[in-house]
Amino acid sequence: MGGDNTENCISYKTMIMKNNDFFRELKEALEFEDVEFTEKTEFRKIDGYDSLHVMMIIAFVDSRFGKRLTARQLFNITDVRSLMELIGLENFEE
């Protein structure tokens, strides 16, 4: 199996990501069409944010950074900046 007919195949990208690209991809991953993500966006203030979105963040970070975040770590994040710190600020640039 595998190969050409695999849709949305996940490949880890280890290159440094621009902040704006991260905000855009995070927004797409969490499927919040009406929310503009910045460093200051607070997850728990987003209408409809729940444990399914925590799972979506785990999937997004696993697929884009090859990094596994625990539920406990994600329970402690507040805003997008705190998520970036968990992933490692060395993975981002302005």
Binding site: N8, I10, S63, A71
Partner: protein, 328 residues
């Protein structure tokens, strides 16, 4: 291998849940989790009742005097003792000179049941094993736990594994990690912590009511467990059977929820058309999702004679396992 299933008559639809929880979106759940309705056992209907009905279906065209072992996988037994499998033997009118036992596993249960059935037959302790998976998680859920009520459904499956089947049940890979016990647990009701009627309820950050008398699932951590272990068990099963994903005709994972399955499929680069996702009208039926899927695939001709089907179960424990079936 004969597989029959049974679902309770009562259904809990997304519309029903929307009425109970006005700020809950049935459409969102259907889209993300892939579930529209789930069957729910009546108050007086137990996992043993479902097991009897599924077994009777399976035994319609099979001489029940030939059954010489009963394996029943459930985490919802009628009594602490005796084991439900003994009662099942009597209710089905099976011979008394046979073995029967319950085993307590969740979503990995069918895989373990197949491994046990194959071993019993290979060691000539049995010739025809009745393997039953039956679960009524609905009885373990807090009435105001909308997350888990939207995921789990009740069902049973009865599989007859005969000596002629075992050459088509290939090598297994099994795994266990009790460090995950806290992430899917019913804290009270066993010998460690008795059921406590005065137990306080609390509401988690997603708005679900929780108590130690009811099932608790740390969804995000269970997701982490699956994305770590499922690719490994797939790799190990393929290795043990000297094969590759390319040579596998169809893949059936435990039907946990659509989001998890889609992510695993993409992570492992499994083509969509060879990957089973269907729990829209059943929900996650725990140990029965794989036999339900196998029966559905056969009924829909998604799998045919000679196909090699990779099956993987994973969940509470943690416990996981996989094998390959050659469809006869």
């Amino acid at each position: 291998m004969i597989i029959e299933t049974f679902f309770p008559r009562e259904k809990l639809t997304n519309s029903d849940l929307e009425k109970l929880f006005p700020d809950w979106s049935g459409a969102k759940i259907e889209e993300k989790v892939g579930i529209k309705e789930r069957h729910i056992a009546e108050e007086s209907e137990t996992a043993l009742d479902l097991a009897i009905k599924a077994s009777n279906q399976a035994l319609r065209n099979f001489d029940k005097t030939r059954i010489d072992f009963v394996l029943l996988c459930t985490q919802s037994p009628d009594y602490l003792l005796p084991t439900s499998a003994c009662i099942l033997q009597d209710k089905l009118g099976l011979r008394t000179n046979i073995g029967a036992l319950d085993f307590n596993l969740g979503c990995s249960g069918f895989i373990y049941g197949l491994a046990l059935a194959k071993s019993l037959i290979k060691t000539e302790l049995a010739t025809n094993v009745l393997l039953v998976t039956s679960e009524t998680y609905s009885k373990h859920l807090h009435p105001d736990d909308r997350s888990n009520r939207s995921i789990f459904g009740d069902a049973a499956a009865a599989t007859i594994v005969s000596s002629t089947d075992i050459e088509n049940i290939l090598e297994f890979d099994l795994g266990t990690d009790g460090q995950g016990m806290d992430n899917l647990i019913i804290m009270n009701g066993g010998m460690r912590n008795k059921l406590d009627p005065s137990e306080t309820n609390w509401v988690d950050e997603s708005g679900n009511a929780r108590s130690n008398n009811h099932l608790f699932m740390n969804g995000p951590e269970i997701f982490n467990f699956t994305i770590e272990k499922v690719p490994l068990v797939v790799e190990n099963v393929l290795k043990k059977n000297n094969t590759t994903l390319n040579e596998i005709d169809y893949v059936i994972f435990h039907q946990a929820n659509k989001y998890i399955l889609n992510y695993l499929r993409m992570k492992m680069q499994i083509p969509k058309e060879k990957f089973y996702i269907n729990m829209v009208s059943t929900g996650n039926t725990v140990s029965s999702t794989i036999p339900i899927a196998l029966k559905d695939c056969r009924d829909q001709n998604l799998i045919k004679e000679g196909d090699r089907v990779l099956i993987v179960g994973f969940g509470v424990g943690y416990s996981w396992g996989g094998t390959i079936l050659r469809i006869a």
